[in-house]
Amino acid sequence: MSRFPKWAVSVIAIGLAAIHLLPLYIAATVAFKKTTDLSSRWRFPGYFYLDHFKQAFTEGHLLRAFSNTVVLTVATALLLVLIGSVAAYPLSRVKTKLSRGVMNAILGVMMIPTLSVIVPLYSFMHQLHALNTYWGIVLVSTAFNLPLGIFLYANFINTIPKELDEAAKVDGCGHYRLFFRIILPQLKPVTAAVVILKGLKVWNEYEFPLYFLQKPQNQTITLAISHFFSDTSSDFGSASAAAVLAVLPVTVIFLALQKYFVSGLSDGAIK
């Protein structure tokens, strides 16, 4: 590998990178082009045209979908951080057969595909009157995403020296006080990882909203776009504009917080 000159590596890498961005580029040219403009989708239009974007907002109700998605994502992430970090503390500090068994059962949940329990989950949610409510979908998303959250927190707490706990216990600190005073303040990096990984997952979630949020007024972005694409089969421009608008916020957040995204993902995977 090291025999290649540096400039050649640059050219290859940038060429490959372009392929990964190609679909997004094509979506942009479709979105910025007039419907009557039948020129190639490879070519960016030479004029400035935003009607498709306006249409996406008015017909696709994107603003409403955005605010719904923000509410769901923030609520789920908050619950995940709170419940996940608190639960991880005893599971990481207490090493008994019982706590290992509980941890393994929790990790086993990660193997359950959403679709494999969608039928019973749907009828259960119906019984609870939780369909088309925020609290319903937030609780379900939290439950399904908790295992990875607990896993990441437990791994991180394992690296915090136990001597700190002992010192606090000598001072007469109970487990609650110990956790909130001593452990929690140290969990910032792993909390960033949990919020980023799981926030992104909930933001892009399709299966749960598809089943549990069927009223137009509580649609999420992914659902709004899917309706846009299936209902307005001729208005490609507006559908594409909606897709571009949906991709935009995650792109901006990613570019701003790139470092955290990357370390969050890789720290969680290899320990």
Binding site: M1, S2, V9, S10, A13, I14, L16, A17, H20, L21, L22, P23, I26, A27, V30, R41, W42, I83, G84, A87, P90, V94, V102, V109, M111, I112, P113, T114, L115, S116, V117, I118, V119, P120, L121, F124, L139, A143, L146, G174, H175, Y176, W203, N204, Y206, E207, S226, F229, A239, S240, A243, A246, V247, V250, F254, Q258, F261, S266, A269, I270
Partner: protein, 293 residues
């Protein structure tokens, strides 16, 4: 003293309780309920259902659509794992070097991971469309006839695998990059003193020391591929016919379109057992290798 110990234990248990309660109520209970529904002929909305024993399981064992979905699910799972691991490792080796544009290239490869698979699938429609699609447009420049990209079963499956890998290979790359950066430089320096070639260095230093990253990536990609859902919904909807369905999309179809909740539930249980068996098998394999080394 014993009282204090009990109090401490209660405190610890209370800290795990909310998590266990949520997971129990919204994951384990539905799973049990799903097992029960899978033994009935429930249609998904009626007040009544009938216990029909193993009929749904007998039916799925001979259902040709289930067979197709099963083979496809395996293809999506193994295909994603193999393609994205090889591809991601190559990217990591390339982008671990120092050169102009390295960070931009890393960001560009990783950026599509941020996008929902469903939206990415819809966007690809603009490239794959028969008339006016970007790919056929490019073909016409070379005088080639347009292609109906998703009309052929094998090509559709290959495209689903390719598009999904192109989108998510950044994940594997990032994990491999982190793995590469954890390999101490002195190993390579020692190897260079001994005059060992790059292939031997790769084979005897890089690969063995990457094994935690390989294990994580293979498991992640395998499970992800076996559960593939939204991209298929956006690209083919399982068609033409039933030929590109995965287990997940078939469950969705059976429930939503045919309103056969009992049967759909038995498919769900089958998928769960299948994924569990594969994951446990793969983990055992890696664990045994780790012990041997």
């Amino acid at each position: 003293m014993t009282w204090r110990k009990t109090a401490a234990r209660v405190q610890l248990a209370a800290m795990v309780a909310p998590a266990l309660l949520l997971i129990g109520v919204f994951v384990f209970y539905p799973l049990l309920r799903g097992i029960r529904i899978s033994f009935t002929d429930w249609n998904g909305y009626s007040q009544h259902d009938h216990f029909i024993g193993l009929d749904n399981y007998r039916k799925l064992a001979v259902d040709p659509n289930v067979r197709t979905a099963f083979v496809n699910t395996l293809l999506y799972g193994v295909g994603s794992a193999v393609i994205q691991n090889v591809w991601g490792l190559l990217y990591a080796l390339l982008l671990n070097r120092n050169f102009f544009g390295r960070n931009a290239a890393r960001a560009a490869v990783y950026l599509p991971v941020m996008v929902s698979g469903l939206i990415m699938g819809y966007i690809w429609y603009f490239l794959l469309q028969y008339s006016g699609g970007a790919l056929n447009d490019a073909r016409s420049l070379f005088g080639a006839a347009p292609v109906d990209w998703l009309a052929d079963k094998h090509r559709a499956i290959s495209l689903i695998l390719f598009i999904s890998s192109l989108q998510f290979v950044g994940q594997a790359m990032v994990i491999y990059l982190a793995g590469l950066q954890r390999i101490p430089r002195m190993y390579y320096e020692a190897a260079e003193i001994d005059g060992i070639g790059w292939w031997s260095k790769f084979r005897h230093i890089t690969l063995p020391l990457l094994s935690p990253a390989i294990m994580a990536n293979v498991t992640l990609k395998l499970i992800g591929g076996l559960q593939l859902f939204d991209l298929i919904v956006a690209l083919t909807g399982g068609g033409p016919g039933f030929s590109t369905h995965s287990f997940s999309t078939l469950i969705n179809y059976t429930y939503f379109t045919s309103q056969n909740a009992g049967y759909s539930s038995s498919l769900g249980i089958a998928l769960f057992l299948f994924i569990m068996a594969v994951t446990v098998g793969v983990n055992r394999y890696f664990y045994r290798r780790e012990v041997e080394h």
